[in-house]
């Protein structure tokens, strides 16, 4: 379905800044929105056309464009990335994806090979669940089920009764202004859908198809994407570099923006 330029840009809350000619697209992972890339993205504004966006259903995207049916695969999110790229006329751009966005970006390079020439994967995991064939994803199926159950109850830590106030009251927008935590808001249903999609996905076979230059940035002590998963990803990619960061945790873009900035700069 063809869309007008403004509708795509509004749908995904696309923000373009920076002075460069080559574009660098930053994509957020599960649990947050484009705000998580700010500390890194601002470092590239002098040399790059910096593109930030929210996936549909997240941040300030058009929640009306979301439906569980449409966004039932990571490929649907990759399609949106391609639409954004087409709207902005991107060629040979850099795609920087955090967490599940690393895989969404990989799928986007398969759909539009001219659009991205370089891919930066931050804390990627092609498969979160351990497999009988010896693959270690870091989680058992039972643990992921427990997470999904936890989200049913807690919606990413918001107390359950509070969460529906964010989006369950389209007629009362003032409620959203009263939320204690104003970033990374997600409708509880969408958060559950995205969690299911993220943590049950298996993109191991897609890795071998990726032709673009890729940088795998792996954190130390990341319980979401452990070191052996990063090594596995690097091993399967035909054209990749691997870098183990000093940063710990799953969100180095926030805890160690300088280290991430340096790593990306050296790569591109």
């Amino acid at each position: 379905m063809p869309r007008s330029e403004t509708s795509v840009l509004r749908r995904n809350n696309v923000n373009v800044t920076g002075a460069g000619t080559r574009a660098m697209v930053f994509a957020h992972g599960f649990g947050c929105d484009q705000a998580m890339w700010q500390p890194v993205a601002r470092n590239f504004e002098r040399d790059f056309r910096v593109v930030l966006f929210d996936y549909v259903g997240h941040g300030q995207s058009d929640l009306g464009a979301y439906s569980s049916e449409r966004y039932s695969t990571l490929g649907a999110y990759a399609d949106d990335v391609v639409e954004i790229g087409q709207t902005l006329g991107l060629r040979n751009a850099v795609f920087v994806g955090h967490s599940v966005s690393a895989m969404i970006g990989a799928l986007a390079t398969l759909r539009a090979p001219e659009m991205f020439s370089d891919l930066v994967m931050v804390g990627p995991s092609p498969r979160y669940i351990d497999d009988d064939d010896g693959y270690r994803g870091g989680f058992s199926r039972a643990q992921i089920d427990e997470l999904l159950e936890f989200l049913e109850d807690n919606h990413l830590g918001w107390s359950a009764a509070m969460a529906p106030a964010i989006m369950g009251n389209p007629g009362r927008p003032e409620l959203s202004g009263r939320l204690e935590n104003s970033f990374c808001n997600t409708d509880p249903q969408i958060a559950r859908d995205f969690a299911r999609l993220t943590f049950l996905s298996d993109n191991r076979d897609d890795l071998e198809l990726i032709r673009v230059r890729t940088l795998v940035l792996q954190c130390s002590q990341d319980i979401i994407a452990p070191v052996e998963v990063g090594e596995f990803t690097h091993g399967r990619l035909p054209n990749s570099e691997y870098r183990l960061l000093r940063a710990t945790g799953h969100c180095p873009n926030l805890s160690a923006p300088e280290e991430i900035t340096t790593a990306i700069r050296e790569f591109v």
């Binding site: 705000a35 830590g157 970033f183």
Partner: protein, 374 residues
Amino acid sequence: MSEQSPAEDLEDLYETAPCGYLSASPEGKIVKINRTLADWLRRSQDDLVGKPIHDILSIGGRIAVETHLAPLLRIQGYVNEIAVDLLATDGEKIPTIANAAEKRDEDGSHVFTRLTLFKAIDRRNYERGLVHARTQAEIESKAQRESAVVREQFIAVLGHDLRNPMAAIAAGIRLLRNREKFGPQGHHILSEMDNSVARASGLIDDVLDLARGSLGGGLVVDRNSEAPLTPVLEQVIAEIRAIAPENSIEKRIEIDEPIYCDRGRLGQLASNLLSNAVTHGAPDRPIGFEAVSGPGLFTLSVSNEGDPIPEDARTHLFQPFFRGEGRPSRNGLGLGLFIAYEIAKAHDGTLEVDSTDRETRFTFRMPTEDRSFA
């Protein structure tokens, strides 16, 4: 206040406060934890210091902390009213509500993260109950909407399909009357059958109107000013007189200007109001019927001298299936006034009732001209 209050011991306040305190390093290691929280977890404070904060969280909690809370804390410096499940040594989950804030030094570097936790067992049960009730209500209301649509479609189809056999019976009665020879008893039976068919057809029409009205957009009317309304109203009065010969109807019809209306529908409105008057009026007192056009306004009113309508019944009069209490209703379904009201609405008009000890009067008013061009 003769005695001085004992001084508060700040260390004791920290250790045994009625809430849990925890400080973690930027790497997520527990730096300090109070005794209250350690007791909840059934572990010693010494054992906990230096351990990753993940150790005291459920699996779901760990992932939520890594993917959502930690970034949120970095971005805005605090998070409030977060639901967190702690994990005690024996595997028991302890629901808590937490506030967290980053302690930063003068340069703005992250020194550690402070958490304050409150046990929230009952509160979380209550919230779960609320969410469950909401989900349940959504499911039930969806099911009710669906079954209402099915029911109305069923009524519409049934009503429509009943029309043909009714028409066949009416035609059969006409044939018998014209071609066969009957005695006085036989003619009487044929007349009774005619009346029954007319009543049954009227009920079917009412039910179909109701179904159409509920299924979408109210009654459909076809309005124009091309023919006079008076003959239609005269015909309706004649029909009611035939059905209820014991009632007298005093009519006044003075229509001097064209009325922009659906004449069939206004005939139906007049018929419904007259039938209502026959049912509820005093049998020995006349029914009043007035249809008058003034400048720009058409008024039709029907009055009877029956008992006044009770105050609380008046608010429900125009709702479907409403029937007056205490009297056997001869008309059955209680749709007549509802349909009259819908016809009034479809003509940009009003239908009102005024009921006193002296009389009960229904008054319909509508503009005589098409207002859509105004």
